[in-house]
Symmetry: C2
């Protein structure tokens, strides 16, 4: 588990997978104490801003992830597989304040290649991002939007070959 060979690809090479497979994307963050967290996300937009490849994620201030991303302005987005449904549900309904989600879900945190946030070894496609822009969504939805420059993208070997 989590030990498959991961191959680097270009920022948008498999973008159709990450935006089509929602809501099975997992957002990973780290805080200044080195604690990791995972959050299931149902928003995820990819594209250029200022000629840089960007992944946009949305986080509500009441989320445990919010403090992490505000502190360390880096994150990873990880595409899960269908057999990870329980983990996706757990990470979308439970708070990292109450659980170590990696441990509870039996997932493997792997150090990021370019960012301090970890990736999830069992996932098959990974985006490492550093926040270069922020925005405030409608007060009604109370989301903060983070635009992360995509610094590295890599995927399991078979995913790259099959797509």
């Amino acid at each position: 588990m989590g030990s498959k060979k991961k191959i680097g690809i270009s920022p948008y090479e498999l973008s159709h997978m990450i935006i089509e497979k929602e809501p099975a994307n997992l957002l990973c963050t780290v805080n200044s104490k080195g604690k990791y967290n995972i959050m299931t996300i149902t928003w995820g937009l990819l594209g250029p801003i200022w000629h840089k490849p960007v992944f946009m994620v949305a986080v509500r201030p009441e989320r445990y992830t919010y403090g992490f991303i505000e502190e360390i302005q880096e994150f990873t987005v990880n595409l899960s597989t269908s057999d990870m449904k329980d983990a996706v549900d757990f990470c979308g309904t439970k708070s990292g304040r109450d659980y170590d989600k990696f441990k509870e879900c039996g997932l493997t945190p792997v150090p990021g290649r370019t960012v301090r946030a970890p990736i999830i070894g069992e996932c098959v496609l990974h985006y490492e991002c550093r926040v270069i822009h922020r925005a405030e969504a409608d007060p009604l939805t109370n989301h903060r939007l983070y635009f992360g420059e995509i610094l590295a993208v890599y995927a399991d070997e078979d995913i790259v070959k099959d797509n």
Copy 2:
């Protein structure tokens, strides 16, 4: 020109083209008097929010397009071709307050299939969108972000076949 057969495709089918080809995307809007405008855009993100396929564009309040999109919350995004470089430059540097950009650039406005904003016949890939969400970017950049639900996507026949 502008008369090629356009084929309907799924929202993300050719998303890699529209996000890779920046900054050659053209944003079309209409105001309540039925006047059309075009603006070259260098921001453009695609992906799901609330399980809906969305195209996000950014418009500064001083832009002529801003009043149009605020009034009629619909827009189209059109992928240009390399031989449209002059039009892309013109629509990115001149204001619709001073010019009829369709006329000046010799471009053909074609009625949208699902929105009041037109598409550009000479472009090869088209997204028709209705705004379902807005956000305010950092005051520093002074952008308003519009998240348009993608209601229709279509492309020139040869583009669909080649990609």
